[in-house]
């Protein structure tokens, strides 16, 4: 009888310990390193900005942020991966806008972009068309003129079919009545290298990826596709200045798998906001990366995505790529 009592007591003790351990584990998020999936290739604008923010996010979160690149199909490969992850807040994705608003209108995707938890957007991208520095075209007009006279001759590199880079060029082609065609690369660094190597004629790329090659004099800008001029190439005009009724917009943003709890989202949102407001980050963004940090919180980011879902949807219909 006595022995039985001891066993029961022992079991109770064990249960208590296990129970306490269970309670003890519920510490404040995050308690372990967070994995960030970068949807575009290493060396691209998204990658560089994400890696610039990471140390400061780490400081805020108190846990390492482990970044990995999973490039492919303009970021949709990585976003599809994020969609499948456990929604515990320990995996998030850095993605571009097309993965959320464009590709789903072009073809069936293995994920539903509306279901993601939108964390925040640190900045919009800015776009420039570059050609090789020894190319025969010096201005946008010369380039368009040549393209008109030589249909189907011009090739341009983009970081993926269905990227805003691709759609913007197709929109221009439709407006000007020219025929040129896109060659998708793994990311902007690869498409810039293809321009330098002479495998394609031009590329439409976001700024940071092109900074080094431009400063080294390997490529020259023809036109800015974003709304405003860019400090990297202050003398290059924008499409709007040239009389087009169009500018190319996309932004970088962080998303969490569908169903991630709010405490994780808001913590990450604050970490990104904190990192965006660090003076060193602002300084570096302006002077070496040539991007404009413009923090948008989760709600604003979602709003932005909804707005551009329609904008790009219209353009998709006009250039005939809507599904």
């Amino acid at each position: 009888m006595k022995r039985k009592g001891i066993i029961v007591a022992g079991l109770c003790l064990l249960l208590i310990i296990v129970g306490l351990a269970g309670i003890g584990i519920a510490k404040e998020y995050p308690t372990k390193p967070i994995k960030g999936i970068i949807s575009l290739s290493a060396g691209g604008t998204t990658d560089i900005v994400a890696r610039t923010l990471a140390p400061y996010m780490e400081k805020y979160l108190g846990q390492p942020v482990v970044l990995i690149n999973e490039p492919g199909a303009n970021g949709t490969i990585a976003v599809a991966d994020v969609a499948r992850r456990k929604p515990d807040g320990y995996v998030f994705g850095w993605c571009n806008l097309p993965t959320l608003v464009i590709h789903s209108q072009m073809r069936d995707l293995p994920y539903d972009p509306k279901k993601f938890v939108y964390v925040a957007s640190p900045m919009p991208y800015e776009y420039i068309v570059f050609v090789r520095s020894d190319a025969q075209w010096n201005t946008w007009e010369e380039f368009i003129d040549y393209a008109k006279k030589h249909p189907r001759m011009i090739t341009y590199g983009v970081p993926g079919l269905g990227s805003t880079n691709h759609l913007a060029m197709e929109y221009i082609a439709m407006k000007e009545g020219i025929e040129w065609h896109a060659v998708p690369f793994k990311g902007n660094p690869e498409s810039i290298a293809a321009v330098i190597g002479g495998h394609v004629d031009a590329c439409n790329t976001s700024t940071t990826a092109a900074v080094s090659a431009y400063q080294a004099g390997k490529i020259k800008p023809l036109i800015v596709l974003s709304k405003k001029r860019i400090s990297l190439v202050p003398n290059t005009p924008t499409l709007l200045e040239k009389g087009y009724d169009f500018y190319q917009f996309s932004c970088m943003g962080a998303i969490l798998p569908p169903g991630t709890p709010e405490y994780a989202r808001s913590k990450l949102e604050k970490a990104i906001e904190y990192a965006c407001n660090v003076p060193e980050v602002k300084e570096r963004a302006k002077k070496t990366l040539f991007v404009t940090i413009d923090f948008k919180n989760g709600a604003e980011y979602r709003e932005l995505a909804e707005k551009y879902y329609k904008v790009w949807g219209d353009i998709l219909r006009q250039v005939g790529l809507h599904k």
Partner: protein
């Protein structure tokens, strides 16, 4: 014409390619909206090399039967001579152990499941020194677990044992 072991494998490969052509590519590639061009190229490549493989293996067998080459006999004698049923069973048992281990890993936790797995497969591999079996199968998972927990700060699948350990040593 008799078809040897190599020939049978080749026929299996050819059958796979045909299945790939007529079933897998239409359902798993085209229906999913993917371009079938590259899969078709790869499949054709496998098919051509399998046919070459089949041709070569039957060709070689013919020579063997004519007594021109003794290479294959040598191979088969060493293989078949020692092939008792037991060693293959070991492989199957080890595979089964891994399957069981992986299946319960999530529910039981890394420590307990790995300890049992290690002890079982060490015995399977032939050790009968129980001191070694017990120390190795308890210490090794513990070291790995602590390496992940303390150094890398990431967790392997957790269960009862991990929680207990956590409450005793980390005061969580």
């Amino acid at each position: 014409m008799k078809i040897g072991r190599e020939g049978k494998i080749a026929l299996g490969l050819i059958a796979f390619c045909l299945i790939n052509y007529f079933y897998l590519i239409p359902t798993q590639v085209v229906q999913q909206g993917s371009s079938p061009v590259y899969p078709l190229i790869v499949n054709t490549f496998i098919l051509v090399s399998s046919i070459g493989y089949f041709y070569q293996s039957t060709l070689r067998r013919k020579r063997v039967s004519e007594g021109e080459e003794f290479e294959e006999k040598k191979v088969s004698s060493t293989e078949k001579g020692e092939k008792s049923i037991k060693p293959v069973l070991r492989v199957i048992a080890q595979t089964a152990f891994i399957i069981i281990w992986v299946t319960v890993l999530e529910y039981v936790g890394f420590l307990l499941s790995s300890m049992v797995f290690l002890a079982a497969s060490i015995i399977l591999y032939g050790s009968r020194n129980y001191f070694k079996i017990i120390t190795a199968s308890i210490l090794f998972p513990l070291v790995i677990y602590l390496l992940f927990k303390v150094v890398l700060k990431t967790a392997l699948p957790e269960g009862i044992l991990e929680n207990l350990l956590g409450s005793v040593f980390f005061g969580q």
